[in-house]
Symmetry: C2
């Protein structure tokens, strides 16, 4: 937690916050903060700055806030991600938020098992918690937009073309031989498949919708590694 | 496991392998392979190709091997990594191997807690297992060189300059304002600090040894995310 992310309900005055729970414990046990210390803080959806510790006791953390910084800009990137296994979902969602992805669509695909959709990890509260962890990690306050698209075809045929308008759409897929265009018009939409890859019919639908194939080379990377590598390459 | 990595002791003939244990279970339960199927296989440190399933029963997997492919090239990259927390060590080491890092040095730093060094995760057997997992993920057969440097100063002063000879050394560190040189002479050496960052004296020693500062921007990324982003950016 590189930034203590404040929720509206934490504010007891415009320049005073009162924290309990996980963030309080983290500040006590990991930061080992003391009264008078300054912590990096940010208001969810708003400004960032410093929080001076006024009181830190069992169950109570009071901060005096100076919020004079703007959060870092988002990447002009929409990530269209086939739903990963529950075990890796949290990590991928938090990593995407930390990298500054502006918008994320969790999409169904042939090789996404049905059980992934009913996993407790896919509940909105959990997904939001992972996004918040990513923001705390990266020192950002602005939640990416997150949308769940349970039907592949309607999303790809009816919504994806509009997302691509004026920008560049890329389909990360091994073995296509496609290389990233040199000059990428932003915004960029990047589609990353499930662990077993997109099936041929899905590849064709995504290409028909306007995505360009992008070959990742011979190495098969885990989703979060592939995502970060692509962000480094494209931005 | 995108590649079944064969160890020398798995070979019962030059073109026959006999597997047990974790890899057998994975092939049965995740790949759900059947007799006659072809699996992607590779011989540790050697060629890759196909393994046709001859026999697959409780406790026994026999493969007929055709090893006619070369593993993907390594990145000309030495990663000098401050020892991460045990909880994240496995992930970072496996990710580095999957990305194709040629050589990895796990280095001490002021903000590396002493207990990290005595964690069971730092044992050579565990580190090797994580490297193997990274190779299986990426479809590679060649282990990166791995070295543990428990003393910061002797490594940085006496060994690092020789590693840098003829190549480019980069010090990933927030807030330096340094941008990556446009033309990077390979091999590249990349130093990534601990979670709390390098302390000033360490930054100075690393710069004195010939590293150039590389600012990662305002977002603080987890080690494995930062590593993958940098690999995408530099290669």
């Amino acid at each position: 937690m590189n930034l203590v992310l404040l929720l509206p309900e934490d504010l007891v005055a415009p320049d005073r916050a009162h924290l309990t729970g996980r963030r309080l414990e983290h500040v006590r046990e990991v930061h080992r903060a003391q009264v008078g210390d300054d912590l990096a803080v940010g208001l969810l959806g708003g400004a960032m700055g410093r929080g001076r510790v006024l009181r830190l006791e069992e169950g109570v953390l009071d901060l005096a806030l100076t919020l004079d910084l703007t959060p870092p800009p988002k990447l002009p990137l929409t990530l269209v991600l086939a739903v990963p296994r529950p075990k890796v979902l949290n990590r991928v969602v938090a990593a995407a938020a930390s990298l500054g992805v502006a918008r994320m669509v969790l999409l169904n695909a042939w090789k996404v098992e049905k059980a992934y959709w009913t996993s407790p990890k896919m509940r909105p509260e959990n997904l939001r918690d992972q996004l918040l962890l990513g923001l705390e990690q990266a020192k950002d306050t602005v939640l990416p937009e997150l949308r769940l698209a349970r039907l592949f075809r309607p999303f790809v045929e009816d919504e994806l073309p509009a997302l691509l308008a004026g920008g560049t759409g890329l389909l990360a897929h091994p073995g296509t031989g496609g290389t990233a265009p040199k000059a990428l018009a932003a915004p960029i939409t990047l589609a990353i498949g499930p662990e077993g890859g997109w099936i041929d019919a899905e590849v064709q639908s995504l290409l028909d919708a306007g995505l360009q194939p992008l070959d990742l080379g011979p190495r098969i990377l885990r989703t979060e590694t592939a995502l970060a590598t692509l962000v480094g390459r494209l931005f």
